[in-house]
Symmetry: D2
């Protein structure tokens, strides 16, 4: 298991559906191709924005296959493979490896919250990592799971040669500082949202998996480049401008807003799976205003 470098920016690609609600593989490929004009390190397929939990077993594999066809060599494909049981997670992780994923991003089980003790969580990740041919990334997503992995548990999980990093979407940057400070130097932390990309970088994160990178890849890359160059003032100014549009397509209005924005910007957004509702007309207008004010208006080059 050679090292994998997660430095950089990854869009967590939404999964495309057609108007009948069926998987739309062509649009998955086409979105990837357009986004590939930016120097993105890779893509996450089947994350929360990829509606993993809305897909049948067969569709999950089909989405990964479609993505891999479009993601060029040298660009990483991360695959979301976490399920409620170790068994299901191992199955999908192996399917991901078979389709050519470079790493598995694994959300932990959370339905039986009271039973997900540190011991159970460590056992889960270590079993999956043992069974996986590709490196494993831990995924913490409190807003959806109702749980929040703490630093001691993450550090224990990290203590496995096939577990290479963490995507944390919770925004607790103090925790990220603790993890980057105490985990081995090859354990890589990724910000899970553009809302705290710069502060995460400031404490040692190596990049981010950012919903916003689907619609503002340039700006996400710029924050990171400005930070690396040491131009903190410019980085901060851009970071501040990205908080509102990022909030709009994540916590506030979620995947339907992200897809709507993609439609506006020349990518394919399309519908989300029911029962998630399409945006109200008024919300669409508010969203358009927020994107415009943040300078996310010109569309991606085609």
């Amino acid at each position: 298991m050679a090292g994998i470098s997660l430095n950089g920016i990854f869009p967590p690609l939404p999964t495309s559906f057609n108007e009948e609600g069926a998987l739309f593989q062509e649009m998955i490929r086409s979105n990837i191709e357009r986004l590939c004009q930016y120097p993105l390190t890779g893509f996450l397929i089947l994350g929360s924005n990829g509606e993993l939990v809305m897909l049948s077993e067969k569709e999950k594999v089909m989405a990964l296959e479609a993505a891999r066809e479009a993601i060029p060599e040298g660009t990483l494909m991360l695959a979301g493979t976490g399920g409620q049981s170790t068994r299901e997670t191992i199955w999908l992780t192996r399917e991901a490896a078979r389709t050519g994923a470079d790493a598995a991003m694994v959300l932990h089980p959370f339905y039986y919250k009271g039973l997900m003790t540190p011991k159970a969580l460590v056992a889960f990740y270590h079993s999956v990592a043992d069974a996986s041919e590709i490196p494993v990334i831990v995924y913490n997503m409190p807003a959806n799971t109702g749980m929040d992995l703490d630093a001691p548990t993450i550090l224990q999980i990290a203590n496995h040669p096939n577990i290479v990093g963490l995507k944390d979407s919770g925004g607790n940057v103090a925790k990220m500082a603790q993890v980057t400070g105490q985990a081995g130097s090859d354990f890589q932390v990724l910000a899970g949202s553009a809302g705290f990309l710069l502060p995460a970088l400031s404490v040692g994160a190596v990049g981010g998996i950012l919903a916003l990178a689907n619609i503002a890849p340039r700006q996400c890359l710029d924050i990171m480049e400005l930070f690396i160059r040491g131009d903190l003032k410019a980085a901060r100014s851009l970071q501040q401008r990205m908080v509102a549009p990022n909030g709009a397509v994540t916590r506030r209005w979620g995947v339907p807003a992200l897809k709507y924005a993609m439609d506006q910007l020349g990518l394919y957004g399309g519908p989300t799976r029911h029962p998630v509702q399409p945006l109200e007309k008024e919300t669409k207008e508010q969203l358009t205003g927020i994107l415009k004010e943040a300078g996310i208006t010109t569309g991606l080059a085609s």
Copy 2:
């Protein structure tokens, strides 16, 4: 769609696995046969105790088939069929009807918490009810979902001819009173836990789907019979005694404790799916003590 009466007690049957973790259909049947010596109104298959979220698509159908073979005519089979998408839920609800389920108990989607507005939830339940050949029961389970359906939303959902009832596991009895008082008289509320069976009955619930009914069916039935007979003092005394053992096999130690207790009492419990951990030795001893103290010791007749 003729009426279905949910009056009475239903065990939410755990799904049996063998030592390798594979579905163990024979034990599903054997547990049902033993529990059928009690005048239970029916069984819930694939509830939270049935580890629905731990099963593959194929296993879900197999578990339902096994259960239906053992559940005699005249005893109801409720099938847990809720998934994160309307599409998946309709698929499994139809499979349940095909295997002979009498009603579907449908947990709402909860992964995208912020998007599960009342509008989305009502749309979800009404779409499923429209598509279902069998009656639909709403399922509220805050401890696992991190959401709590409120009375106005439930009342709106209830306003559909194919939605016949609610299982509420949250223990908010004031809400149950509001629902039983304001929903149509044919909307049936079931307590979701033996910890509040008697108080739920006092405000108009018609019965319960009770983990404890897997190991103490006699006591659960007795609470209900004493209540109906008007012997509140005896009902209360029994109810009070059931709170501790019920807590032990639900909130406190969950499915592994329920399965362990079944093993002790002559039923088949067996392992839970990973990463849920087996009980520690010390917990087993505590649990045994709690069951003993509550008089749940003699085992079920074989």
Copy 3:
């Protein structure tokens, strides 16, 4: 410390302020006098509805003095005396005893949530009970404190000769069943809200301290009398009708709604202390409708 019987219904009296926001002792007395035409067991002064936390040290004592002047002998005066420190709580408990309170209802400290371990909570209650000349009642109020006393902690606290009961406003009736079942037979549990009065009685509560009893004392007393008489059907029907108006003057719109309703019904409500806002016009209309629909319209006899 002779026994005190808490059987029955207690309104937690709002504290009256005049239009300038100053304590209005005359109206405290006048409200009590009017409510005393009903066979209430007593009053709680300085509970959450009594805006305890909004009063200066001096005002707390003045409010208790005013109340005691109006509460006739034979009717109990409970005084809310819980503060964040043991020291402050003992001080106010002693002041309450001096003004003639029959018992102290003590909310636990909750500001330093992480430090309020079971050990700290037990130490707190036992120190207060040791120092108090009057019996102490434990008060659990999760919606305001952000904490929820669990049964084992309550049972440990209850194990003191000068701690005589519990008011639980959390609505977890399973917990109440556990406490009534396991505490000594002289430990008395009171429902903390009319929304779950009947279910609480069904598991052994002896009465309730009910915001609703300020505006619908007759109905609260009736639920209890019907329950005692064994007419569960009538009790349930009345209980169901009381859930909505009770919710309106508690969780939904709080003290300003309770005071507004009192104004409508011939008692003195008056303003709440800032920054709590007065009801919007639209809310007033909704509230009036809810009270009317529940039959709380005729006003209290004057």
Copy 4:
């Protein structure tokens, strides 16, 4: 109301009590004098670490007076003055001004959580700011209040000439970025915990009010100086080392741990007010180890 600059580091001084639990003004002064050998911008008196909620009205004023005697001119004294009512808050804010405080740090009311709407919160802060002769700083402390002020509400509150800043202890750095980006340029944000000092600075915070600055003032100042100098690598390394000791004296073990550490380091810690419990022996040892590992061992010069 001339401008006040909050740039820099402020320890939120614990309030000293003697062994009988009485206010110990001499030790308040002595602690300040020792800490003043570091170039701290000022002190916060009567914050959460200052046990504001544990003090009587009189003691609050006495603590402020003692502090002012010791805090030299040119070093700022911030006074915690927030209460549950506007009235009480205005009273204490005026007392603070009278004793010589340079600004009031005002925690919002939180007991009636459901009633603390944005409208009520804005009204509260604006009333206090109108009545205050000294500038007002907003204080957000979710772990203690159970509420979390959001960016839109903060921005509305900030829109008052006498409200000059925010201390945010919640750690949501994305929110801080939004506030620093959208509030007027003279609105100053302070990190509320050393756990996220560097990330907060990276998005535009001007300093911090940090429990850790009571025991590791040098390190807190260094993080800030390294950041300003542009030596992010060294800043990050120091930030990472401070997460664990900071967590130990805040979220994990709280004020008793902070006071114990002060005792170890040559300052006066002393007891906390009951019912907060003193540290267990084992916790003391763990804490000593954590401080040592982080290099907080040599004590403050005397």
